[in-house]
């Protein structure tokens, strides 16, 4: 035990004392925050400038209503839309279209909208543009035209104008997630729920890849600098392997703790932003069960992958070989993110449940599912058992390969050779 602690302490100090640890610990949250906030900045910006376009009316008789509806202003007082209104008729439209399309093509006109004479009956209008344009902009124009037409139809039924507004207001179907024993949690909106699920998987992904690769390189370097020979004359390969995994894990926990402190202080300052408070509401809504299973699968996932990286570290001898292994492991970790949209809609689909019992997928799949739904405790327990068995099996195999691999230099072993190593006495 004394020796194991010595190894753990050395590995821990080596990482924590590095400048890159401090820099990474400080910069990663900033990077994460940038990723979260930058898109919201872009979304806000898009609506800031007025939208300019031409509206061609072919005799709907609604021009004044359109003028009123498009007359809204931005928060800063500027008009939201700058519209050029043209009255035309079905006979002249081809000539006009040719002229306007030329302007669109030359870029002097963003786009133009044609309101047909019978829009009230058909509910059909056309927009001519060179590119699709911003989703939000198009939606707001569509909604505005739609509002004018719907109100016009209603007024034909002699509904008083002041009641039309009230009658046409949309309803909001709020999502409340139901769990066993009448438990419920607010689901937040679609986007924040999706993003927070991804965020938890990303935390696991970056930790495993960051620390795992470090472990792999550290073992490779000890091989290449031949210090391994000295180490194994004092320690068992198992002590060395476990010491490295645990020492790194301890450094990881230190980093997480620092992030938790940093993160909570950042949230305190930035809590006023709508997006952050949405994320926070979503996080609060996740039950204590979720956080317990997150921690369990985080730790188990770290151990499983760290063991795998230790195994790989003992058989590689160059940076190029390291890269060859990093790519497939990244793929394995990314699979749940690719499936995230589907999992969010069907977190209990039988094949999703089955996939979440595949050892290297279990941690990410379980964390993702648990952030979207109430995963039954039985499934969590099966997942944990699967992980523990996998870690023990892989650990036993790794210890045997590690023992031989760390003293083998040069050519990377083939799979049959690895099998032989496992069998060595």
């Amino acid at each position: 035990m004394h020796k194991l602690f010595a190894v753990i302490a050395r590995e821990y100090k080596e990482i924590v004392k590095k400048k890159s640890f401090l820099v990474g610990t400080l910069l990663t949250p900033l990077f994460m925050i940038a990723i979260i906030f930058l898109p919201t900045l872009f979304i806000d910006r898009e609506t800031k400038d007025p939208i300019e376009f031409t509206l061609v009316d072919l005799g709907s008789g609604l021009i004044s209503e359109f003028k009123e509806a498009f007359g809204v202003t931005l928060p800063d007082g500027r008009p939201m839309y700058i519209v050029d209104y043209i009255r035309s008729s079905p006979e002249q439209i081809d000539e006009l279209k040719a002229e306007l399309s030329l302007q669109v093509d030359e870029g002097t006109l963003n786009f133009y909208v044609i309101i047909p004479e019978d829009i009230i009956e058909t509910g059909y209008a056309e927009r001519y543009a060179k590119k699709r344009g911003s989703f939000a902009d198009i939606k707001s124009i569509e909604n505005t035209i739609s509002g004018v037409v719907v109100r016009e139809r209603l007024s034909q039924f002699k509904v008083p104008p002041e009641e039309i507004m009230a009658a046409t207001r949309d309803i909001n179907l709020e999502y409340k997630q139901v769990g066993p024993e009448g438990e419920e949690r607010g689901g937040g909106n679609f986007l924040t729920q999706y993003l927070s699920g991804i965020a938890f998987v990303m935390i696991l992904f970056t930790s495993i890849m960051g620390y795992g690769q470090h472990l792999m390189r550290a073992v490779m370097e000890e091989k290449n600098t031949r210090i391994m020979e000295v180490l194994v004359s004092s320690l068992t390969p198992f002590q060395l392997m476990m010491g490295k995994i645990l020492g790194l894990g301890a450094a990881g926990i230190t980093q997480m703790a620092l992030w938790a402190i940093l993160g909570s202080s950042v949230f305190l300052f930035a809590g006023s932003s709508d997006f952050v408070s949405g994320m926070l509401a979503n996080a609060e809504a996740l039950s204590i069960n979720f956080f317990l299973s997150f921690i369990a699968f985080f730790i188990l996932g770290y151990f499983l992958f760290a063991t795998l990286f230790a195994l790989l570290g003992s058989i590689v001898s160059s940076e190029k070989e390291v890269q060859q292994f990093v790519a497939p492991i990244t793929m394995i970790l990314v699979i749940p993110i690719i499936l995230a949209m589907y999992i969010m809609q069907n977190p209990d689909a039988p094949w999703i449940v089955a996939v979440s019992y595949i050892p290297f997928l279990t941690p990410t799949m379980m964390i993702l599912r648990a952030s979207f739904t109430f995963v039954p405790p039985a499934e969590i327990i099966i997942g944990i058992v699967v992980m523990i068995i996998s870690i023990l099996l892989l650990g036993a195999v790794t210890a045997r390969i590690f023992r031989v691999g760390i003293l083998m230099y040069g050519k990377r072993p083939t799979l049959p050779e690895l099998v032989k190593w496992v069998k060595y006495k």
Binding site: H2, K3, A6, V7, R10, E14, E222, T225, R226, I227, M228, E229, V230, L231, V232, S233, S234, L235, T236, R403, V404, L407, E417, K420, Y424, K425
Partner: protein
């Protein structure tokens, strides 16, 4: 008492026999040379003694017990390929290597000062390993091997790459350890070193023991059958001398191995007519000649000499 006993040990790697039915008994307080060409099985043997790999057959006992993890703490091991943590400070490296040999921190601090003084590196205690020269790193590694005061010291090619001053320093520490009653086993393929230092030698070739025993016994077994000579003339003049089995050319001098029963006097007589002699000496064969004689061709022998 035998501090190390290797009993009929065999180790096979993937059909290649690394060590075959190898036995060795090392008494306490001797310097034992493990000699053999590259790939003979020296390193595999040492790794089995260090419990890094297990023998397929046979058993190894250290200090009267089956080799186990605790016994590792009483052995000091210098691997053939040297390596230390380059980014660590000298003090930390030695502390760590002491700790994983089971030493306690307060005990280590004293040992570090003592050993750094002995290898003349005291002023480097707070330097990073990578800041030291290659020779200094070698001395540091040597110190780290002995820092826990081991009973049994295993040195794999301890003298390779040392300059004469450091070689002398390390050699004196080895001799001092022997005087303190420690047992030293070292492997080398430089026979001159082995000849000067060893009490006993064991010669391995292709995984098998070919020679084992006290140095003087080994040499006397081969009898006085060697002539050393220096002369003016060409080596081709020596060819076809009666009674000469082999010629070892060392450039500055030549050794002749005589057939059993050949009189050295006869050889001298026939030489006088052929070349101008500066030196003629009749003696026991050098360990080098024995080694080459048993292990290989004359061609290899020249390579060994140039390596030395």
């Amino acid at each position: 008492m035998a501090i190390l006993k290797i009993d009929s040990v065999t180790k096979v790697f993937d059909r290649k026999v690394a060590v075959k039915n190898f036995s060795l008994e090392v008494q306490e307080g001797v310097i034992y040379g493990l000699l053999g060409p590259n790939g003979a099985g020296k390193t595999t043997t040492i790794r089995m003694v260090m419990n890094i790999i297990a023998p397929d057959e046979g058993r190894i006992t250290v200090m009267g017990r089956e080799m186990n993890e605790q016994a590792k703490d009483r052995i000091g091991f210098l691997p053939e390929e040297r390596g230390l943590y380059q980014k660590m400070v000298v003090r930390d490296v030695l502390t760590y290597l002491g700790e994983i040999k089971g030493m306690k921190k307060p005990q280590i601090a004293g040992a570090i000062e003592e050993w750094l003084a002995r290898v003349k590196l005291s002023e480097c205690i707070d330097d990073k390993v990578e800041e030291l020269s290659k020779g200094m790193q070698q001395k540091l590694q040597f110190a780290s091997t002995l820092i826990h005061d081991p009973q049994l010291i295993m040195l794999d090619e301890p003298f390779s790459g040392l300059d004469p001053v450091n070689l002398e320093l390390i050699k004196n520490i080895v001799l001092e350890q022997k005087r303190q009653g420690k047992t030293i086993i070292f492997s080398t393929h430089i026979m001159e070193q082995a000849e000067k230092l060893c009490d006993n030698i064991c010669l391995i070739n292709k995984g098998e023991k070919v020679l084992d025993g006290p140095l003087f016994e080994v040499k006397s077994k081969f009898g006085k059958n060697t002539v050393v000579l220096e002369f003016d003339g060409d080596i081709s003049d020596l060819e076809g001398l009666p009674g000469v089995e082999k010629i070892y050319d060392y450039n500055k001098y030549v050794e002749l191995k005589l057939h059993d029963g050949t009189s050295p006097h006869k050889v001298l007589e026939s030489l006088i007519d052929k070349v101008e002699l500066n030196r003629y000496e009749f003696m026991e064969p050098s360990l080098h000649d024995i080694f080459v004689d048993i292990v290989g061709e004359k061609k290899d022998a020249r390579e060994e000499v140039s390596n030395a």
